[in-house]
């Protein structure tokens, strides 16, 4: 009697996981198809040509580039240099030193001959106090704002208060932009006559590429398996997920590493929120919310092509911290705005985006984690359970490896960023192994993030960079 009940519970559980996975697989397939059609249309389009006509327009929509820097002495000079050579008619660069404990400030002052200036900053968003403002004596569009430590979001808000131009771009201190990146992200804004108020670009991984003076010389592939897996993960997230969501204005994430926002709407929404770890996503959600509440028809889009190269962690400890933090950030954004879920007032954002992020992005890892535990248990129990285990394993192959493989092929089919044949084969073969090691590992870390949140642990540690540039 007891035995039969036990069996029932186990099979119900197994079926629950299986059905969940099937639903997600269907959802991913739909998104993959949308992305495929979109990317294929622009295959081999001569992109640079398309931007020449816009030069005058770009001229009238200057951009403030805000670079929050906290202990970035290794990479800051290089990233500023890469920004200075960006192909865009009018822009200013605002480096916000968020109370660094290393030589970030001194290095900047030395390198660009920064001089103290007295300037009044209009406080449109409340921030920690500014200590000093510097302007470069060689380049009048380069500023350095030194402030008390208050976290990345606070630094971005200071940059926002200080900035002069109607659009701004937030950029991580260690990323390298492709020269035409700004032209490409600004194009949808101009094309739509400012109906598009924020636009985000693709982020790719710089580890393994040859970078000098803030320029990508050669795109390459790292030999570190962990990095390769992250490359695949990024391809999958950007090429598959975001193109699909962006098509229907459902985008809830513009990567903190590279995105342009309208300053007006950002300030109207209240700027970056300082007490969350996922300030980039939270802001996008808040802007969406504001738009729906004001009933204005504005859009947030993702542009697959413009590429920002950034460094990712190369060892387990840091990657683990990063993943825990991401998952917490995701939860915090969703929780703060939980009222949007299935709220008819917010239309497709409430009915599609939010449920998607709750069910697939947030709960996904937890359910997958349970699935892995279940699989291992079943192996020990033997008998009919082995079959459950096999079903779940096959499903997770579909769910993990196959979609990643498809994403790698999609890249090669449409954008072809990697120059060598071996690069693609290598990426493909690695993505085959995803289900066996990388996926369970990251899923476990994400669950740890949830656990930490439940027990109220708020530390998340700092990321140490080694610098990708020579």
């Amino acid at each position: 009697m007891l035995n039969v009940q036990w069996l029932d519970i186990v099979s119900v559980f197994a079926w629950f996981i299986a059905v969940y996975m099937v639903i997600v697989i269907i959802f991913y397939s739909v998104i993959l198809t949308i992305s495929m059609l979109q990317l294929r249309k622009e295959y081999q389009l001569d992109r640079i040509q398309a931007y020449e006509d816009y030069m005058d327009e770009f001229y009238t929509r200057p951009v403030s580039i805000i670079v929050p820097a906290y202990n970035e002495e290794v990479g800051i000079i290089q990233s500023v240099r890469s920004l200075l050579s960006v192909n865009y008619p009018t822009f200013e660069i605002i480096v916000v030193n968020d109370g660094s404990k290393d030589q970030t400030l001194e290095k900047m002052i030395d390198q660009y001959e920064m001089k103290e200036i007295s300037k009044v900053v209009r406080k449109q968003i409340n921030t920690k106090p500014i200590k000093t403002i510097y302007q470069s004596t060689i380049l009048s569009n380069l500023f350095l704002v030194d402030k008390e430590n208050g976290g990345k979001a606070d630094a971005l808000n200071v940059g926002l208060n200080f900035s002069h131009y109607p659009y701004f771009c937030s950029l991580d201190g260690d990323s390298v932009l492709e020269p035409d990146a700004f032209l490409k992200v600004m194009k949808p804004i101009i094309d739509s006559n400012e109906e598009v108020i924020a636009s985000g670009g693709s982020v790719r991984i710089a580890n393994g590429c040859e970078i000098k003076n803030g320029h990508i010389l050669k795109i390459g592939l790292s030999n570190n398996p962990l990095v390769i897996m992250q490359i695949i993960e990024y391809l999958r997230a950007f090429l598959m997920g975001r193109i699909g969501l962006s098509r229907h204005n459902l985008l809830l994430i513009i990567s903190g590493a590279f995105g342009v926002f309208s300053k007006h709407w950002t300030i109207e929404a209240g700027g970056y929120k300082t007490d969350t770890v996922g300030e980039d996503m939270e802001l996008v959600v808040r802007i969406h919310r504001l738009l729906k509440e004001k009933k204005v028809n504005k859009k947030i889009v993702y542009v697959p092509d413009p590429v920002c190269w950034t460094e990712v962690p190369e060892d387990m400890t840091i990657l683990r911290r990063q993943r825990r933090r991401w998952h917490r950030g995701l939860f915090e954004s969703l929780w703060t705005h939980r009222g949007l879920t299935f709220n008819p007032k917010y239309g497709s954002i409430g009915f599609i985006s939010f449920p998607y992020f709750w069910v697939v992005e947030f709960l996904g890892p937890i359910i997958e984690f349970l699935g892995y535990i279940f699989m291992v248990l079943c192996l020990f129990l033997g008998g009919v359970y082995i079959e459950f285990a096999i079903i779940l394993f096959l499903l997770s192959c579909l769910y993990g490896s196959l979609f990643s493989m498809a994403a790698v092929l999609l890249e090669e089919w449409s954008l072809t960023k990697y120059p060598k044949v071996t690069d693609i084969v290598k990426l493909f073969l690695y993505s085959l192994t995803e289900t066996i090691w990388y996926r369970p590992m990251t899923v476990f870390w994400r669950c740890e993030g949830v656990w930490q949140m439940l027990v109220g642990d708020t530390s998340w540690g700092e990321m140490k960079r080694k610098g990708v540039s020579k």
């Binding site: 295959y43 009044v120 079903i391 579909l398 498809a406 092929l409 089919w413 072809t416």
Partner: protein, 343 residues
Amino acid sequence: MINQDILFLSILTLSLMCLLFLLLLYLTIRKAKEIKKRREIVSYKSKINAQIFSVIAEGERYRGIGCETAVKQKAMEELLSRYVKILEGEEEKKRLSDLASDCLQGYYRKRLKSKKWSHRMNALYHIEDFHMIKLLDEVVILSKKKNLTHQEFIHVLRILATFQYNGLKELLHYHDLSEYEYRSILMRLNHDLFDQFVLSFHKSTPPLQFAILDVISLKKALEYRFFTENIFRSYKSEIRLRALKALAEIGYVSNIEPYFQLLYSSSWQERMVAAKLIGSIKEEKGIPRLIELLHDQIWWVRQQAGQSISQFPNGKAILQSVLETSKDTFARDMAWDWLHKGV
């Protein structure tokens, strides 16, 4: 039942896996071919580069530059694209255009009919860049195609504008474009064709009206100053503002008096553009009010007032005295800004 499921799933997974492997095979072969083709293009380019240069720069007759294969066409296209960006003289541009027509006309004619959107778009970009006026008829035919995408249509219109095509105005008549799109088309027109648009200004839709005024202001077209002043007097709100902006760019008005009161307007946009006008005409009577506008509550107005003051011969001195005497931090800040511009 479970066994059946396992079978089904295994078959599904395996067949998808096989499919992906086949795709991989196809893509790697394609990539290898692409790499080989790229190498061929690069080597052909370096082979003909010197000859092409002398054809374009010195008008030499050319012999033996073949364009019969895809590789050669691509190489030619890339070389010409590079030269077209750096060329200055009319002679040279003409020679380049002739060369492009000789070598690539057939290629683009075919490409314009291609089923692939990106092929058609690329062909359009190059037809415009190389000014291949011999393909005008094909482009006109394309403009009448039913299932043209909006982006293609806009580009077709731009090309027709560059070629000063007479039927352009009629073509535009049935379509609603955005202000930016109109502007990019009008910017390419010569005086006569642009005149047609100016003449029918009153019947045009607001985006087209904005575009016309913006083109006048971007080209600083002195010949349209009376027209623009007229528009300024007879229209309201945004159009009036654009006309004012155009006048500020042209830097000429028949009588400055009526414009002074705009410096006191309740709309900040008007205050800003009026300040710009005073600066570009360098009307000394406006200076005291410009100094007041340095204290305006809107950043854009302060910024423009600062710029206008700095355009006067004694501008620096005025700003310096504001910097030393004013009690308003924002005004001092703006004065400082304009004194230190361009360091």
